[in-house]
């Protein structure tokens, strides 16, 4: 193999409290497709952000055509011919295809007027090359997601990109669109472009990629040619770590049935069946966009079910809104603390009691004494580090914010607590504390659904594990039968033989 056009060596990137990347290598060769593989949170996105100049590395080297370079911003990366096609497309819907391709770089005549003729002719050439049969004067909003992705690729080509990064490009595509994407990737390969292909889907990697680099927990695990590998080997590389962290899973005698879900379906989830007992932790594993969060939100009434039944303590219930869910004893702690969980401008106290204010009401007004006492009790009990209950929540660390989010759910005295990624963005110490708290709830007889992308967490805390893939439950394991390999197989959609 000839020398790589781009090489990342020993990349280290730290965020406050987390080492996101710890000595990661990546090689990109001209005319080859490099797969970048790893679980959620393995560091793929961070690495790509460094490659595209969005983040700056703390340590390590970037070598482009044999010379060490420094990327100070996305513009530097763009000038070098590095283009990234994000999972969420960055097109402007109300502009035409041509306007989008040349946005900010419109060809102009000598009076600085946009040369529309040239713009659309050039766009047409690019579209033809990608075999997209569309008029460049058409608005982007009228295109399908797959077609929009092609426009992004056209944009990359118009920038004379030598390196094209594709982040989970097939996630939103139909089978047919995926096929035509693969044809385009083949073309790009023939054109001597260097391609980085990020995907969870193993079959795509065997189908499309020449080499593969595996990351795990921010570390470089290995690089090899795809032809030397098989699925089992890859899965082992992805998950093959020891359970280093201590998970204090406790045995609690399971109580009666708390929740039963039958046939639950809507546009995100299909035919979901499961049961949950008192004092049980049900782990839900699966990759991003597998429908885990959507399942939780359907139970919580944020997303409406189309069919199916939900029984709480044997009684059939209809849940159409979060209010109703809370009344029926279901609380949900969102994975997106800042977007959906907390109100950043308000205080610890105000956030914690927002779901349960009526409990502190005395003849039309909130009893500030009662409220303060309750909040202080939770602050003490959950060991939330804050100067006072009146501190704005945005000034707290991730772990403490998460504890407030959980406390907010707890204050409603739920029978069923749904925790969506309860330790995301939380440092190790606070993680342990959160695990201890979850176990305490379990001891008190609460039923807990814990959605998590972190395999050790799921295996270390749950009594039973469901795995989701494309909106369906693709596997169910008791903790005794579960293993990382089995879960990962179900999560990437490989049927058990």
């Amino acid at each position: 193999m000839n020398k790589p056009i781009f090489e990342m060596k020993g990349i280290v990137k730290e965020f406050p409290g987390v080492k996101a990347l710890d000595g990661v290598d990546l090689k990109i060769h001209q005319g080859r497709v490099m797969a970048l593989l790893g679980e959620n949170g393995a560091g793929k996105s961070t690495l790509m952000k460094i490659l595209s100049g969005v983040y700056q590395k703390d340590q390590g080297q970037l070598i482009y055509e044999g010379e060490e370079i420094h990327l100070k911003g996305p513009k530097d990366a763009q000038d070098l011919g590095i283009s990234i096609i994000h999972q969420e497309l960055n097109l402007i819907p109300h502009l035409t295809i041509g306007e989008n391709i040349f946005l900010g770089r419109e060809p102009v005549n000598k009076f600085k007027k946009i040369d529309w003729k040239k713009l659309y002719e050039d766009s047409e050439k690019l579209l033809k090359k990608l075999k997209v049969d569309k008029d460049p004067r058409q608005k982007v909003s009228q295109l399908s997601v797959g077609e929009q992705q092609m426009i992004e690729i056209a944009k990359a080509l118009s920038l004379h990109a030598k390196i094209i990064i594709m982040d989970e490009p097939t996630d939103a595509l139909t089978k047919k669109e995926t096929e035509s994407l693969f044809e385009v990737i083949d073309e790009l390969r023939k054109d001597e472009k260097g391609i980085v292909y990020i995907s969870h889907r193993l079959e795509e990697i065997f189908r499309m990629c020449d080499d593969v680099t595996v990351l795990r927990d921010g570390r470089f695990i290995g690089e090899d040619e795809v032809k030397n590998l098989d699925e089992n080997k890859l899965i082992e590389m992805m998950v093959g770590r020891k359970l280093t962290e201590q998970f204090p899973r406790i045995e609690v005698k399971k109580g009666e049935l708390a929740l039963e879900v039958k046939n639950l379906s809507n546009e995100y989830i299909k035919d979901i069946h499961f049961t949950l007992r008192k004092g049980e932790i049900l782990g839900i594993s699966g990759l991003m966009a597998s429908g885990r969060t959507e399942l939780a939100k359907t139970l919580y009434g944020v997303i409406q079910k189309i069919s199916g039944e939900i029984y709480i303590e044997g009684k059939k219930v209809e849940i159409k809104s979060p209010q109703q869910a809370l009344q029926k004893g279901i609380a949900y702690v969102s994975e997106d603390r800042k977007g959906e969980g907390l109100i950043l401008g308000l205080s610890v106290k105000e956030n914690m009691t927002i779901c349960s204010l009526e409990k502190f009401e005395e003849s039309l007004r909130i009893s500030s004494k009662k409220e303060k006492e309750a909040v202080k009790r939770y602050i003490g009990h959950m060991n939330i580090k804050t100067p006072s209950e009146n501190q704005k929540i945005k000034n707290l660390s991730g772990g403490n914010q998460q504890k407030v989010s959980i406390a907010k759910g707890l204050m409603t005295k739920p029978k069923i607590l749904i925790l969506d990624e309860p330790t995301r963005g939380v440092d190790v110490g606070a993680k342990k504390e959160i695990y201890d708290l979850i176990n305490e709830f379990k001891k008190e007889g609460m039923s807990i659904i814990m959605i998590s992308s972190e395999m050790p967490e799921v295996l270390g805390m749950s009594d039973r594990i469901l795995v989701m893939y494309q909106g369906r439950i693709s596997g169910e394991f008791s903790i005794e039968d579960a293993s990382q390999e089995k879960i990962m197989k179900c999560a990437v959609g490989i049927k058990e033989a």
């Binding site: 919580y300 944020v302 809104s321 979060p322 209010q323 869910a325 809370l326 949900y332 969102s334 977007g339 959906e340 969980g341 907390l342 109100i343 950043l344 401008g345 308000l346 105000e350 927002i354 779901c355 204010l357 009526e358 009401e361 039309l364 007004r365 909130i366 500030s368 907010k408």
Partner: protein
Amino acid sequence: MNKKVLMKFKSIIGLVVFSFIVSLLSPRFLTLPNILNVLRQTSINSIIAAGMTFVILTGGIDLSVGSILAFSGAVSAYLISSGVNVLLAVVMALVIGALAGCFSGIIISKGKVQPFIATLVTMTVLRGATLVFSDGKPITLAGDKTSEVFSNIGGGYFLKIPIPVYLMVLVFIVSYYVLTQTRMGRYIYALGGNEEASKLSGLKVSNIKLSVYAISGFLAALAGIITTSRISSADPNAGIGYELDAIAAVVLGGTSLAGGAGSILGTIIGALIIGILNNALNLLNVSSYYQMIAKGAVILIAVLSDRKEK
């Protein structure tokens, strides 16, 4: 004094310093009659601004307040001139104001229309309705068509203090109570701070939105009744541009147009600053054309200094 405390009382300090400067420039400023005059003149804008504070705290805006003022003023004048009981007339005008607010609120929460557009619709429609209703002419209360009780609302005094000043104080006390002591108040801040999180916390977001526009409409109607009562006439063109004065008072008071942060106390101070500014420029015989420029400049300075702090 510690800096934090200083920051907290910045707007009050600003108000005091500002008043002090004005009193140096015009000896008439710090006389009791003039102070009462300022308070009475401020009452209309500050009552509207109190309602506007509720709306802006949720991240919305209400452009319809001036039209609601004119419409409910016309309704109250018409009812009273037709011999309807004063209390009934006043209550009906207030209810109509609240309903007009509900109308905006429904367009916003159910129709998912931006507050700016929805209240622009209400503003336009109600202004037209007022002109139709009054045939484009002021409805005047005179002779046997008037009512002494009614004219006292805007023009009367109690213990030498104008009645509208009492009403203003009452509105602020109740607003303060609702915003700081009740669930409703907490929910308003939560909604303005993060709508998605509020929904997921089980708040009835559309009811809250509806309520704040109803409150704003109700208070605009109250301002309409005071205006009509004071001059014994309901002008169909009354209240044009009042929404901007109210928004200015709210923003001067440090409430964020993005919602979720601010206070009703700030709004009082904002309204007073605008009132004193108008009064001072009048006392100093500055033409009303220049007054507008000065008002714009003061708002700009206040908002910029607020921005720097953040």
